[in-house]
């Protein structure tokens, strides 16, 4: 198990967006999150990737060969009374309060894309990919200023990695164009490539096929498969294209009105009467 989502709750004012959501993402799998509009899929995504602070519940990432990361704690939580009794816990909480944030979720190994593509439009495609590697670079003020050997080394590595990914997504020709000037299909690919640049273990794709034509969707499905197989990636995706979901995923979680109504293999989900009634129709 790579990601553990346990009894996640989220409410906005009076609206309960997520209620007692529990599911797991297995290491190396492609897991799909489906459900009607407003079911809370994107909210769940936002909690997992650190975009929102989960109000209740547990989110843990269990990366292989590395210690478990508590995805709620690293965003910086309000202090609780019991912290005062445990100086160690108080110290940790204070540390995350001061230096925590969504960037730690990314550094823990979770990368995401957005339903409406969010590239840095005024930077070139290559720069977008380099920005995503910031955490792995020599980013010290003076090493950049004096162009030290370590700095050049890191930059060269980053550039190689970016170029490899551009090759992989067949975007090499667009490398020096401004990201905002690309077509929608290309922008989607750049966004996935950029997410890959952060060196994730878990890649979260929010409706990657939205706005793509059938041919582009087919190609995308191929790329997602290859990411999983060739780069040992675990993928969590939200998608409305049921054909794509059934074709790709190993495991499906169905949400409706902020609650999980079914989990299982694609075949089992297709047979599930509750899901058919609520969503598949």
């Amino acid at each position: 198990m790579l990601l553990e989502v346990n009894q996640l709750h989220m409410r906005f004012g009076g609206v309960v967006a997520l209620h007692d959501v529990t599911f797991d993402v297995k290491w190396g799998s492609i897991t799909a999150l489906i459900g009607p509009n407003g079911a809370g899929k994107t909210t769940a995504f936002n909690c997992i990737t650190g975009f929102y602070k989960a109000q209740q519940g547990r989110l843990r990432l269990h990366p292989p060969n590395r210690p478990t990361v508590d995805l709620v704690q690293i965003l910086g939580q309000p202090f609780s009374g019991s912290d005062l009794l445990h100086p160690g816990r108080l110290w940790t909480a204070l540390g995350y309060k001061m230096f925590g944030g969504p960037h730690l979720v990314c550094r823990a190994g979770i990368a995401r894309t957005f339903q409406n593509v969010r590239l840095f439009k005024e930077m070139t495609v290559l720069e977008n990919l380099l920005v995503a590697q910031h955490a792995a670079l020599d980013r010290h003020f003076f090493s950049g200023l004096f162009n030290t050997a370590t700095f050049r080394d890191h930059e060269a590595t980053a550039l190689n990695r970016a170029n490899d990914l551009l090759d992989f997504f067949e975007l090499s020709k667009e490398a020096n164009r401004l990201a905002g000037h690309l077509s929608h299909g290309h922008q989607r690919r750049v966004e996935i490539a950029r997410a890959m640049c952060t060196g994730p273990i878990l890649l979260c794709l929010d409706e990657p096929a939205a706005g793509l034509n059938p041919m582009e969707t087919q190609a995308l499905s191929g790329w997602i498969r290859r990411l999983q197989k060739e780069m040992n990636l675990t993928i969590l995706l939200i998608e409305h294209d049921i054909g794509l979901v059934m074709e790709l995923s190993d495991h499906i979680v169905v949400l409706n009105h902020g609650e999980v109504i079914a989990r299982g293999t694609p075949a089992a989900i297709q047979q599930n009467s509750g899901v058919v009634e609520a969503y598949l129709g």
Partner: protein
């Protein structure tokens, strides 16, 4: 009109403009990254003027008189301590209010500017202070029937302003830190989701802005020799005007705005009237904003979706 007087006014204007430009960088960078005006920035400049005097006195006390050594030590030491003030302003007035409405940090920044003013007044006294003249020589260039005189301090101002502008441009466009700054400027949330510690980047921007103001503070103190705890206000407003004139959010814009403002002030006070030079400067701002609301080099505001 006498060409030498014209040229002399142009030189004076360039020097004034270079210092406005250096201070304007702080406004424009902070606006670029968090979309707010740092109203304590003028006070940061004022603090650096006092620090210059303090470090000069300290060096004099230890008997260090070699002028290049004094200049470099004073510049570096003032820069570091002033940068610390910039960091402090962000930490106290802006970060705790990062997610509140836009007016709240504005008020805390004004409050902090009053605090800085009064802390300087209490610790250094309300009277006008001065620094001794360090560099006395000047370059004399014959022009027409007269001469243009550029003191060594003025030459230093031009050289240092150009050099720091070049270094800053290099950092923003050629280093990973600058890339992260630009990314944070465009989409802060996305930048943090890509592993960039945006709080740190915002602090860095405040520190860089303060460092630029410190450079201006050291140079202007060496040039004019006297200052009091009020200078931050009017210079801050002028630099802010320069930033808006050039297009707030744009680095070359800040420098261009500063130069235009400095030149127009200098020409106006030289040939028309000294008392109304500020009126002319602000009238120029009004005119530019009527015809180019986003400033000379600024990009039109695009609504973020």
């Amino acid at each position: 009109m006498e060409p030498s007087i014209l040229a002399q006014q142009a030189v004076n204007g360039l020097i004034l403009g270079a210092t406005y430009g250096l201070i304007a960088i702080g406004y424009t960078m902070v606006y670029g990254i968090i979309g707010m005006i740092n109203f304590a920035h003028g006070e940061i400049y004022m603090v650096s003027a006092y620090l210059t005097a303090i470090f000069l006195a300290v060096l004099h006390f230890f008997g260090i008189t070699s002028i290049p050594v004094v200049l470099i030590v004073v510049l570096v030491a003032t820069l570091c301590i002033t940068a610390l003030h910039g960091w402090f302003v962000e930490r106290i007035a802006y970060r705790p209010l990062r997610d509140s409405n836009r007016l709240a940090p504005l008020i805390t920044a004004i409050g902090l500017s009053l605090i800085l003013q009064n802390y300087v007044r209490l610790s250094q006294g309300a009277r006008s202070q001065g620094v001794p003249t360090l560099l006395t020589g000047s370059f004399v260039i014959p022009a027409g029937s007269g001469v243009i005189q550029i003191t060594h301090v003025q030459a230093l101002i031009i050289v240092v302003a150009i050099a720091s502008m070049a270094v800053l441009t290099f950092i923003m466009h050629r280093t990973s830190l600058g890339r992260a700054c630009r990314a944070t400027e465009q989409d802060r949330v996305m930048a943090s989701l890509l592993g960039i510690n945006t709080d740190y980047i915002i602090s860095v921007v405040f520190v860089i802005g303060a460092a630029m103001a410190a450079i201006a503070g050291v140079l202007v103190s060496l040039n004019y020799g006297s200052f009091d705890f009020h200078i931050g206000f009017i210079t801050g407003i002028k630099a802010f005007t320069a930033a808006v004139l050039g297009g707030i959010g744009s680095l070359p814009g800040a420098m261009l705005g500063g130069l235009i403002l400095g030149l127009s002030e200098s020409f106006f006070s030289g040939f028309v009237n000294t008392d109304y030079k500020d009126v002319f400067a602000f009238a120029l701002l009004v005119l530019v904003l009527i015809f180019r609301p986003s400033g000379l080099l600024g990009q039109p505001l695009v609504t973020k979706v």
